[in-house]
Point group: C2
Chain length 204, copies 2
């Protein structure tokens, strides 16, 4: 029997509402009732479609991670030079995250809460690997394009500089006395500030 498109609708609505609530409140803080309310449906439907809070949560998490992974692959498995990668990634990532501000915190938070959750993801999806990136850094160091640089540390630095401000947004707003608009502009300026900062440091 052909699936009616009614379910498609509600199943999607549930996922959307669950995303909102889980990302704002986390697994423990989220309430099934609130998800149902936000989706405009009966609470029993959540269980009808996703069996349990845990499974609904995992669906949301997989979705979120799937959104982020391609961003990382861009810097890891792309063929452009390190400098291009840094500039592209920084630019793209900040644009991307500005559209999904809760994403990084959500992922970090739940990864910390349940580290073995990570193993599941790692096997399942096409999980990014550092190998190519490290090789490329070595090659560019060899070729005299970059100063001696550890690829692993460089990768961590790139992630740190790009992701941290979005994890620590309230902290940074506090230090800088910026409101939402001011913060947004600060992040906009970081698109070039961060890539310049990195390139300055590693380029010969």
């Amino acid at each position: 029997m052909a699936k009616t498109n009614k379910n498609q609708d509600t199943e999607g609505q549930i996922l959307e509402a669950a995303k909102e609530v889980f990302q704002k409140k986390g697994m423990e803080g989220a309430r099934m009732q609130q998800i149902a309310d936000e989706a405009g449906i009966n609470k029993a439907m959540l269980h009808y479609y996703y069996r349990s809070k845990q499974l609904l949560f995992e669906a949301v998490f997989r979705n979120a991670f799937a959104l982020l992974a391609p961003q990382l692959n861009k810097i890891l498995n792309d063929d452009s030079s390190i400098e291009e990668k840094v500039r592209n990634f920084t630019n793209n990532y900040i644009t991307f995250i500005s559209k999904h501000p809760y994403l990084p915190n959500f992922i970090i938070q739940e990864l910390n809460r349940n580290p073995n959750f990570f193993e599941k993801i790692k096997q399942n999806a096409a999980f990014p690997s550092l190998d190519k990136f490290k090789g490329q850094v070595s090659a560019e160091v060899e070729a005299g394009i970059l100063k001696p640089t550890d690829g692993e540390q460089l990768f961590i630095n790139i992630l740190s500089l790009n992701i941290f401000p979005f994890l620590a947004t309230p902290l940074i707003k506090g230090f800088t006395n910026l409101d939402d608009m001011g913060f947004k502009q600060l992040m906009e300026r970081r698109k070039t500030a961060v890539s310049d900062f990195i390139i300055n440091s590693i380029k010969k």
Copy 2:
């Protein structure tokens, strides 16, 4: 009647146990019963000394923040040169956090959960200000010691590079395939790697 020192003991034990549990599980995930168990006392004592979960949590949070603030003040209100500050802070902070691995995540997490929580802290404690640091960066740029550099962005970069790896530990372990020991060594190497990275970028 003079306070016996019995209460000092249990009050401290409660705070210690609460710290453990809250830092690992967060406000929502923590259970009063577990805190009582971990402190080896009756659950009613938690309320006797701290009235409610919320107040106990705030006590733990204030404690945690008070531990972190001096670390920041070191880089903000100290009189050494920017280069010295960067090297000192990076070195000290990584050492410090290795001893309190749950701290950064705890603070970030709860700051995100309840941003107006931050306001309380901000008024109360001697809250770090960026002004001196920014002035100092300008002065060193003027004096030709540093390349043109935005103090605000530099500050964010320093925090990012130092704090992020401890927030995203599971993620980084995943990418690098390191176990606890390997991660610890990686962070040890970062003490110089990060300061070199920063100095390389900004020093003329």
